[in-house]
Symmetry: C2
Subunit: 401 residues, 2 copies
């Protein structure tokens, strides 16, 4: 396997942007990513595009990446449209990485694209709700007492159930969940691309509308639109590009994807196994990580993930959070971008948006939210839900060199 570098990154504004279509969102991510890499459209040898629900929102299906990128003159190369629910663009990045690592290509583009807003909110929620086995959905909804009227409450009911179980087991409180949100808003306030840039208090989070106890509205990632792009290159590819040479390079240390598994039981076993593989391939330990972007689709998820990734022992995540270690200024800030909760979660774009943030951190280009001296960064991105585990789980580890 050859070394693969993140040669350039870019992302659009995230947020509810009803008038913007996929072409505009793509341009806002790809043009900065190309410029950042010192590349032009014709530098690209292949394109891997991740998208999840824009087809259901806009009607454009099957060749979404080609359609979105054609106005930028990106054409005549292999283009693949990759879907894996909320892990769509981490999956696209993985396939792009694989093609460079294996020597098939020297310079490729990975892009995550998403359009979720629709005049009718029920269309947006309905689209998100297709990331499960529809045949299981009714059974699950009935078991959760969730009714079957809203896809959103269905997913949120899954998270609520896991959270109640976690609270019983660990002694965590609803306030612990709210503290994740306070941190996320504090980080996002420093991120010009974030959907929400206001700070909130613990009380505001606790008192916001209840979605499914113990989850309140502010504990749930919002609907939004956005795109994020990364140019990946081999050593040879880097030499060909005109990107800045006086800055640190970002190298992919591990790129691991797996789907959920029947091995053992319990929530999100795949996250544990995927992270273990990634740490093993990277040759680093959880304690070596300087900053991370993780899949906080709800606030409690961030706590679960601390434990899945080995950042905290079972039941200890609230203590890790309370220590300040995972906030800016701490020893291992998590979700400096504001995370899915506040930067936003245009689902097909999220995986690469996480990689954009960690790239900026590793290069020292994260501005007011910079983690000083960050050298190792991790991204964790999960997608879909099947048999009580993620249908797709992606963990990436990056190194500044």
């Amino acid at each position: 396997m050859r070394d693969v570098f993140v040669a350039g990154v870019g992302m659009s504004q995230f947020g509810k942007q009803l008038p913007k279509g996929l072409k505009q969102l793509a341009a806002e991510a790809v043009l900065p990513a190309l410029a950042d890499a010192g590349a032009v459209a014709s530098s690209l040898e292949a394109v891997y595009g991740g998208n999840a629900v824009a087809g259901l929102i806009t009607g454009q299906e099957m060749i979404r990446t080609q359609v979105a990128l054609r106005p930028l003159g990106i054409e005549g190369v292999p283009v693949f449209n990759v879907e894996n629910a909320c892990a769509s663009s981490a999956s696209a990045f993985h396939l792009a990485w694989q093609s460079v690592a294996c020597g098939v290509h020297d310079v490729v583009l990975a892009i995550g694209l998403e359009k979720m807003t629709h005049r009718d909110k029920a269309v947006s929620f309905g689209a998100v709700g297709t990331a499960v086995d529809l045949e299981q959905r009714d059974e699950m909804a009935a078991a959760l007492g969730a009714g079957d009227d809203s896809s959103r409450s269905f997913f949120m009911d899954i998270y609520a159930g896991m959270t109640k179980e976690y609270m019983e087991r660990s002694g965590a409180t609803q306030a612990d969940m709210a503290a994740v949100v306070v941190k996320a808003h504090r980080h996002a306030a420093l991120n010009p691309k974030a959907q929400y840039r206001d700070e909130v208090s613990l009380d505001e989070v606790m008192n916001s509308r209840e979605i499914a106890w113990p989850l309140t509205l502010l504990m749930c990632a919002p609907i939004g639109d956005g795109a994020a792009a990364a140019v990946l290159a081999s050593e040879e590819g880097m030499a060909r590009l005109a990107g800045a040479t006086d800055r640190p390079r970002v190298r992919v240390l591990a790129s691991v994807i797996r789907s959920g598994t029947a091995l053992g039981s319990g929530r999100a076993k795949s996250a544990v196994l995927t992270a273990q593989s990634a740490f093993e391939r990277a040759g680093v330990a959880p304690s070596d990580i300087d900053c991370a972007e993780v899949h906080d689709a709800t606030a409690p998820a961030e706590l679960f993930i601390y434990e899945d990734l080995g950042f905290a022992a079972p039941g200890e995540a609230p203590r890790l959070l309370a220590s300040g270690a995972t906030a800016l200024g701490g020893s291992m800030p998590v979700n400096t971008s504001g995370g899915l909760l506040c930067k936003g979660h245009p689902i097909g774009a999220t995986g690469i948006a996480q990689i954009v943030e960690t790239t900026w951190q590793l290069r020292g280009e994260a501005g007011a939210r910079q983690v000083p001296g960050a050298r190792l960064a991790l991204t964790h991105n999960g997608g879909g839900w099947l048999d009580e585990d993620s249908a797709a789980m992606a963990v990436h580890i990056f190194e500044r060199i």
Copy 2:
């Protein structure tokens, strides 16, 4: 790059199968493919699934491959959902090939899955009609005088326009197009998996309902459901599998994908360029090919493709057809399966279904439609339409060893 072998293949019945869901169709393709390869679910190290419109038909989106394969115990490995319109599963096969060729995996599954039938036929046609840039579609429809009421007539109007232009240029007649259909039905009559197994006369084709002159109903591929699967393996993977060792091996000589391009102008330039790359990588010439499966979404397309692939000089395709060379018994039979026209065209399954047929041919397992001594086979699969060219074009070349 390592050698990659098609270790096992399988396909479901093709046709209008309204009661069958993706899980059943998947099982009908995957179980025979695993058995053929001497593999079990746990032999697979990754899965690449191609699908195009089943999401719009069934509501199941984002994690379709995981959902369809979970009942077969295929889990805990990377699973990628790949979309590229009618070239979705050729794209999935290409990515699977890449991962084995590059040494990432030794045994992987590529599957093409499709569900097109819907109680409301307009839903099926509407789904197919999303394989273009929707913003271009209205303009194109207006330019073609096609109206905007039916996605089917829109695509068929594109083909009709190309056919009229071809007829003017080459002197070909409507009867030449009809002759493609007569051949396709004759071949499909020998294929138990085919959607249509009846022979038809030239008159029946000419006199069937006009769709868009010169195209009649029988000149257009039907709507249908189906799945096709292939197990790919490296030399090491083959040694690990329990597949029959006393039969010829099928090796991938070339796997090339590209999207359409602005290079030059004119219809389906990408087919010419993709085929040239494939022949170059395989180190063989068009005249070396013993049998081929090509993307005859309409009857005239088969004639165009003869010329795009270099099987016939420009304008000479009708003569090649009339000579009998591309019919069973000729020197290079094309679409021995019955092609998209008669075997059927469940669009996300088509690319791999072509590979299933060529694998059977190369192994001498094609029964009544066997091409004696076939040693080199080609598949040609195109998807989507953008700026007057295919959005995705795939050419594969296989060799018996």
